[in-house]
Chain length 237, copies 4
């Protein structure tokens, strides 16, 4: 089995984390694709591992409730694809997703060992597009026109964040190494302070890419905190 | 030492690679930050490892010459930061880069074990902003106003690619897990077919994150080919 | 009274129009803010003139039905502003709109002679956000997160148009000289062929700016056709 | 001759202008396409009228010197088109510009009565791409990869403005009704306070569209000040 030896950057990471301060007045949480299409194994078309679904949902519920108690705005960003007559899902515009669908069997696509589809994932009106009910409150904002991996691309997320006066983004959701990481990159590029909550992210692509995604954030882009660390930072801030 | 066991996805990856076809008429190469600021150890302000500099430059020179012989356009995208009076480098707008500079010693920042700086990296007019001369030909395009990690963000790369009729993007340069990966995400989001040439990318952040970057591309976004595989695909295409 | 003498460019305009061909397979209609907030005088918060409401609605209904009969996709793009707790409408982020609200009386703001408001216009859930029912069919696409003047800014319009294979954009709606013109600029910048249907646009700002908006499109950006001319072009194409 | 009667909005406009305050610490000037390709009749490929060239250059020189004396940053944004082998100018990607070139004689294109070309305008390396020397100082910023009408589209203007802490944009240059107006729209959409200096803008398309542009800005988007009014506002601010 191939392994990657993780470079020990604990000195750098802890020095950075010690200095991190979070001003709740300038903070927002972005929940990324925390819908049934990833997180409800009974109907998901791109399912995370069942144990990851449980872990992410329970920790996210806790962190979101805590954030709401501090009046930190929550923004859910959700991928929904239209079904275009004569073309199919908007996802079929992606050549990689089309090739995945065509050349791989349904248990061997993006989420190995679990059936998945790129070309009918989260079609408009399908149950997968529903945000996990425990994670959604009436005061949350919902942006439901995400079309690709990046929460900023083709959405009004940047406009909303500037209106809210956000400087620090708390990221959670699915998948650590794609939508979360891509959104972390875009947030970094727009000069937000980026924090990923490790207990509230997971990857349907594999535990390895989840772990490597977290390494990438904390050594190149921003911060990775556990749910507990995040709550402690906010309480002391 | 912590290790990550890489999930064996060789079946998926080889099935996808077998099907890959590259039309040279609809292909462009994007060389990412292949400048002296990363690749010339004598003056680099964010240096890659010396052995990686040699490896990347020699393979990139080979691949770029091959691509030019097939009339595939080459686009170099380079980060250059203005020095703003009373503010400093444009890079100081990034809160993470400012914290890295302030809280870490110069040998323990983004490129561990080698001195680096985020706040005077590739300032306009400094030698680091020069593209490695062996990699630049008069017919290449140069986009030199990249400001953050993503080659598409704040540049005319997308406009140029559409003018060229590009559908497949060949990516090379520095760093595998940041600028290359962020650009791979943005290219995926815009529905380009994405190919990273493994011999022509490296990461100043560590070998582990270099390998992560390649795993992430080939299992989530596109294709990873060696220089030899790329040339074979083009010759047979 | 001040007047502007319109330069006679009829030679240029008719030469260009004669050459114009429209391929229905590569065409889409974008209906811009054809909601009750502009077009229903009984509740509009930024009302067009009543006679313009009637004119635009009747011609738009005709043109949209014709387009649907040719299988041309219709995309409605609608401004809706969230009401942010402690801040107010997302529209209050605009310094000009805030100044308009503060320094002008309610009958002397953007739509002269008719009461209007910039700071509670088309709030989420308000009746103004409803598309004029006669103009909406179940097969139409709706993008309802437009936040400013440009239909492309912060929306997935560009993604949808590329998925549809659109090369020619038919624009209609409110206001000729702001949202329609701004969208015409953005479409021009993205290399779409732009056609504005003169019978289906109007300006709440004044007849003068409506007329000058049409002049600007046909002499600098694209084409202005009457509803009748558009239908003739499509039938002969 | 057709005329448009301008609606009398002098009450609105003067009320707004009275309230306008300009903080020089949060202001930047954007000079739009003030290059020889528009403003030097001896070589311009899209020439403004000679008397407009003189007017704009003399007033712009005065206003820019004044702004520099107040330490207000100046940003020149310039269109330059690459000459793509086998394709031609990047401007040939625009279907409207291609049609203009093909169907109209060289004295009857975008700048009526003066020879112009859309397909070889401001090619890289041509004299038209030079900023008018009197308008350029060593401390000015230059963004020279504008490709279409909007100074924000495909450039790093937004990144630079945020780095500079800009909230108020002073616009000048060519053409009032296209690049200046499109940039005014984009600046409005990004919540900048927009001010156009009437003495420093002109339109090669015709005096009527120049006047339209100014009316449109002051009634819909922002403010129009003479050079004298601008200097008075800044001195009293």
């Amino acid at each position: 089995m191939k392994t990657v030896e993780i470079l020990d950057r604990s000195g750098m990471v802890s020095a950075m984390k010690d200095q991190l301060a979070i001003d709740p007045m300038k903070t927002a949480v972005v929940g990324i694709d925390m819908h049934r299409g990833h997180l409800d194994p009974s109907i998901a078309t791109m399912p995370a591992a069942p144990e990851d679904c449980d872990r992410v949902i329970s920790h996210a519920e806790d962190v979101l409730n805590f954030a709401r108690s501090k009046n930190i705005p929550i923004i859910h960003v959700i991928l929904i694809h239209r079904d275009i007559p004569g073309f199919g899902s908007e996802g079929k515009k992606s050549p990689f997703w089309v090739a995945v669908q065509e050349y791989l069997s349904e248990e061997d696509r993006l989420s190995p060992g679990r059936k998945s589809t790129t070309t009918t994932h989260n079609l408009e009106g399908s149950p997968g597009t529903e945000i996990i009910p425990n994670l959604l409150a009436p005061t949350d904002y919902v942006i439901n026109n995400k079309k690709r991996l990046d929460c900023f691309y083709g959405t009004d997320l940047d406009i909303l964040l500037r209106t809210l006066g956000t400087e620090t983004l708390i990221l959670m959701g699915i998948n650590t190494n794609t939508c979360v990481m891509n959104t972390a990159f875009s947030a970094f590029n727009r000069d937000f302070q980026v924090i990923v909550i490790s207990d509230c992210v997971a990857s349907m692509y594999g535990e390895d890419l989840h772990r490597l995604g977290l390494e990438n954030v904390k050594r190149c882009l921003g911060y990775v905190l556990t749910a507990k660390e995040f709550k402690a930072k906010l309480s002391s801030g």
